[in-house]
Homo-oligomer: 482 residues x 2
């Protein structure tokens, strides 16, 4: 046999130096982010660079780091910038990136077996159970985000509430299973119903009140109508922080309905759930502990690098029953590597899973939950502050009440509705392409609005004042009559 190959390098000092160069680059970017454009469109030349043939031969790490510096680093989403407020993005952090690097070296498969990553993940889940006042007997699993967490929770709920063995026989064996969420609920819930074989139409959209919250009376009526029609209601999904406006459903009223009707209560707390850590929202979110399951993200308001979410489920046995299905090659043993518990493959669809818990552990340990909570509260105060600036500006119109951290408003133009919509979109595109700020847009009551979602630990009040003045300036530029 020829000399045996490996991927290891010949010069380990060189490798140390490469990591140092690469980390320094990224730290410099983070240090100077306030002076950068929020977002820079990727030039066509750079796009073409990622349209190459499969590389046959290797390249030196240092040349790849240069490639990264030139062609990747400048063209990110911009969510590390203090004036990024689009969709719901966390800002990231150094501790999170450090945890990600160490996970990359550990290269753990956290699907099972007896090794430390399982203990770190269990620790993080225990902390989450504590945050939401779930009992210590509850279970949980880290996920890529709330979309996956929702799929896992609804799968457990589906199996528990069906009137047949749907796990083995399929959902056709049960009376048709239907669920409920507010008309403002996140699209991931509909996608979960689809994936789980229940059908998108089996998730009923319940009408909302003037604060964009599900109307409990309408929920009760719809459940009754579905029962009359011979269907099998099984779950209500309450939103804690809707994407459009940050609305929080009335958890006490919904929880009462679920208990009376024997339905599973799932909470979509993707970003809003962690507001329970703050003095301001603790009371309103007290009733989250009544839920059967909660899905939420670390990569939003805890600023853990993407992706990192979690689902916790009160009934551990139901959770395990839904996903445990190990074949002979995954048998546990009492001693050795095949020992240990839990095996996370018993709590979700994945047999291979990375060591996502490490970056969460690093983030919470490095900053402490008190500071992370203070930053959530700071963002909510900044949103109220922005709302006040909008209300004070005669050419701006507030389009939804600001409850959590989202402000929806628009610039008024003396134009027909469609033209006004287009001009507001144009303002947002100009803010983004000029690198000034990155809000996003959405539609509220049929109107296009500018949507500012502050899940950003770097935002200062001066950034929001700049946003308002720039919107007024750009609005005047594109329509001088304003």
């Amino acid at each position: 046999m020829d000399e045996e190959l490996s991927l290891d390098c010949h010069d380990w000092e060189d490798l140390r130096h490469s990591f140092q160069i690469a980390a320094d680059l990224c730290i410099s970017k983070m240090e100077g982010v306030r002076d950068d454009a929020v977002w820079t469109p990727t030039p066509d030349r750079v796009k073409a660079h990622f349209n190459k043939a499969l590389p046959q031969e290797g390249a030196a790490l240092d040349s790849l780091i240069c490639d990264f510096q030139e062609n990747i680093l400048p063209y990110g989403t911009g969510n590390g910038h203090p004036r990024f407020w689009g969709w719901v993005h966390g800002s990231g952090s150094a501790a999170g990136a450090l945890g990600e690097m160490l996970a990359g070296f550990m290269n753990s498969n956290v699907g099972g077996r007896d090794h430390i990553a399982n203990h770190v993940e269990r620790q993080v889940i225990d902390w989450c159970k504590n945050i939401f006042d779930f009992p210590s007997s509850a279970s949980g699993i880290l996920t890529s985000g709330t979309s996956m967490g929702t799929i896992i929770a609804l799968n457990v709920a589906r199996n528990e509430k069906a009137d047949a063995d749907v796990q083995n026989l399929g959902v056709s064996a049960s009376r048709r299973l239907v669920g409920y969420a507010s008309a403002e609920a996140h699209g991931c819930n509909t996608k979960a119903f689809d994936l789980l074989g229940l059908g998108r139409e089996s998730l009923r959209a319940i009408a909302i009140d003037d604060r964009f919250r599900m109307k409990p009376d309408m929920l009760r009526d719809k459940i009754a109508a579905d029962r009359t029609a011979g269907l099998r209601p099984f779950v209500v999904i309450a939103s804690v922080g809707t994407v459009n406006t940050g609305a929080i459903d009335d958890l006490c009223a919904i929880s009462d309905i679920c208990r009376a009707e024997g339905l599973w209560l799932h909470i979509d707390g993707a970003f809003g759930g962690l507001a329970r850590l703050t003095d301001r929202f603790r009371g309103e979110l007290e009733a989250m502990s009544m839920a059967d399951s909660i899905a939420f993200d670390f990569h939003k308001w805890l600023h853990v690098p993407y992706d990192a979410g979690c689902v916790i489920i009160k009934d551990e046995a139901a959770h395990r029953a839904a996903f445990s299905a190990r074949r002979e090659y995954l048998e546990s043993t009492e001693t050795g590597l095949a020992g240990g518990a839990p095996w996370f493959c018993d709590y979700g669809p994945e047999l291979s899973r990375g060591f996502r818990a490490l970056k969460v552990w690093f983030t919470i340990k490095a900053y402490g939950i008190r500071k992370l909570a203070a930053l959530i509260q700071q963002n909510c105060a900044q949103a109220k502050n922005l709302e006040a600036m909008v209300l004070a500006a005669p050419e701006l119109e507030l389009c939804a009440p600001t409850h959590l951290n989202i402000v929806c408003f628009r610039m008024l133009f003396d134009k027909p509705p469609q033209a006004t919509d287009a001009l507001n979109k144009q303002i947002v595109a100009m803010l983004q392409t000029q690198g000034i700020a990155a809000p996003s847009t959405t539609t509220i009551d049929g109107k296009t609005v500018i949507r500012v979602c502050i899940t950003n630990h770097r935002t200062r009040s001066e950034d929001l004042a700049l946003l308002v003045s720039e919107i007024r300036r750009l609005g005047g530029l594109i329509d001088p009559q304003v």
Copy 2:
């Protein structure tokens, strides 16, 4: 308002230094891995360390790095060690860890929008389409692994082949959908049928031949029987590399049946698929290009850090139709951050997705596909070499033919079958707990066997010779009659 907080540090030089210390630690571990125990059980003291209350206050990064060094780094799975051959684990690499660190800093959400991470992911998918001779019009998405890739592919297949609008109405609206895989197929396929609402029993296990491959005649018969029973066959899952023995199903025969019957052909190529890169297996795996979808992993035989898999799907429109469901807040625009294409949330269940493509891109660019392929071929040659050693040892029995990279064998004892099973388990546990080597066990034809799966770029022939001698030594220790 008080002074505004952020998570940024006060001393950026300190931060640079912390990353340097942390990277150096991990690189030293990698450099010296051959001299380490393969696996070290986590002491109870260390387990207790991860059973602490939610930290209220933060801690210095350097103290967390010490914590990592003491309590996490020594207690990994061991899959970086040259004598780790348990289950199917990749060995990781420096380039992959570097990519992971950079992704941690980029903090990209690759669910959508116009930024560079989408281009890097599309580039990686294009390379995969090239590897499997899929047309450029095919689509794909990076996943946590083959489990998720399978769920995505089967969801597309389900929607395409149902006789009703199951996406909106649920699978109950269609005649019962059934699929087929070999009795040796991976458990993730059964879990996917469960999750998708089809039921575990709707995946039929087809009998295998003496090389552990699905019998095409049995497949044809079962499809006919299901049709006669009024069911709706929709998919055949062919295995390229089964977990137990590395068997490769007869792709030409299965592909012919799928074409004749109008069924979707999905290939589970979790680790074996990439053997198509080698001269030795290119011919046998030529017909992978006939599949409608292929799921496989980068974190196994390409040694990308966990987790990283992929699914490619020949019919892009069907793929997009299955997952595209964007709400108003995710509307695309022509210019600005909300532009760009593709948006990967249209190709899978996740709205938030990390920048997993970067570590894959780094791995392939750093080592080149030629060397990565040579390492796959090297592992297969090492497996044949081990098989020869087993055949030459009178007290060892080969329990399955070695075709790819897996060798299943056992030590013979003059004992009843159950006792022999237990002794072989004991040998594997001793190998692991003494840090000598880490094969795993499985069951073949009702017998417990020692299973050595070589997906390891650090393994040398001498490591396998040591394994055989240590098994014989330990066998003699636990039963001196041998």
